[in-house]
């Protein structure tokens, strides 16, 4: 009799564990990207200071910033709209070839529409890395960007 009880309980527990595991796998598989607007910045810095850091030592700056949420402030150098209507905000010093380029998150894309060249902006995005280029100017790239309203 006791044995039967143990077997029933074991089966029940296994089933529950399986269901929980299955649910976890299912939700993990269907997990959406987090909205950058809801993410707290890991670092807050000006576009020029970030670029300076990268120019000095790309490797150590990458260890610090790669994949992290950055809140960047700076002057809008350029606002680029691609053929699909997606905006890229280019922040930085107009006298310098280097810039911080932030590609807007598609769900927040329209936020960028009102930006004016030469005005100040605070933009949050996820750092994807640095592209050093002497001819075209070096860029720090961020994607899934949103305007910071605060």
């Amino acid at each position: 009799m006791k044995r039967k009880k143990i077997i029933i309980w074991t089966v029940l527990i296994l089933l529950l564990a399986g269901a929980a595991g299955g649910y976890y796998a299912y939700s993990e598989y269907n997990r959406k990207h987090k909205d950058t607007a809801d993410l707290k910045p890991d670092f807050t810095a000006s576009a020029t200071s970030l670029l300076e850091e990268y120019q000095k030592d790309e490797k150590s700056a990458n260890t610090r910033y790669l994949g992290k949420v950055l809140k960047v402030d700076g002057l809008v150098k350029e606002l680029i709209k691609d053929d699909k209507g997606l905006y890229t905000i280019v922040l930085g010093d107009t006298a310098s070839m280097s810039s911080v380029r932030l590609s807007m998150d598609s769900i927040h894309n329209e936020q960028a529409a009102g930006l004016v060249k030469g005005s100040a902006a605070v933009v949050k995005g996820i750092c994807t890395g640095y592209n050093a280029d002497e001819m075209l100017g070096s860029d720090l790239m961020l994607n899934r960007a949103v305007l910071d309203k605060k």
Binding site: L66, N131, D139, N143
Partner: protein, 185 residues
């Protein structure tokens, strides 16, 4: 006297760069597709922030792509791509340096579609390999649209696919290039 020399050198450099015709983009599209017939869904990422420079005089062409800039629809897929496959923290950038083998066949001053062959070296995941691929250049209104598709055997670049999903992910990734190049002033 010294100043004159610097000025002359600067002027020379300037005129040199003015004659060398370079086209570029910083918003080039590079796609990565590792979907196979047994994949349960599309395994596809797109990078819309690739840099490309084409020197129309020599036919030299190069690309730079930040691996973390590949966007996947599913968050989990993007994480796996970055963490397990291409290890983008360790190898943040992929690069291609090469040239158009039949550059003489392209008349950059005349609108039209030109079939080209691009040959060069692709560096990804810390490994450099020779790549040769057909491509297409469309010259129109002072802009050049450059497109190509080629296959990269993931094992060639030491990208290993865990056994559990080995039959769900293609061993060869299809890489698509689509760049709209503008004249570099």
């Amino acid at each position: 006297m010294k100043n004159y020399f610097v000025l002359a050198a600067a002027a020379m450099l300037f005129s040199f760069s003015a004659t060398a015709q370079k086209y570029f983009t910083k918003t080039g599209k590079i796609s990565f597709d590792a979907t196979t017939s047994s994949s349960p869904e599309k395994i596809e990422g797109v990078n819309k922030t690739s840099t490309c420079v084409l020197d129309t005089k020599s036919g030299a062409i190069q690309f730079a792509v930040l691996m973390k800039g590949f966007l996947f629809e599913r968050a989990l897929m993007e994480e796996h791509f970055n963490e397990n496959y291409v290890e983008s923290n360790k190898f943040p950038k992929a690069e291609f340096k090469g040239a158009i083998s039949n550059n003489d066949a392209v008349n950059y001053s005349k609108d039209g579609t030109y079939a080209v062959t691009v040959k060069g070296k692709l560096t990804m995941h810390g490994v450099t390999k020779d790549v040769e691929t057909p491509g297409k250049l469309v010259v129109q209104g002072g802009k050049i649209q450059a497109t190509a598709t080629f296959n990269a055997l993931l094992a060639d670049y030491s990208v290993s696919i865990p056994g559990l999903v080995a039959d769900k992910v293609a061993k060869t990734a299809k890489i698509g290039v689509d760049c709209s190049l503008e004249l570099l002033k």
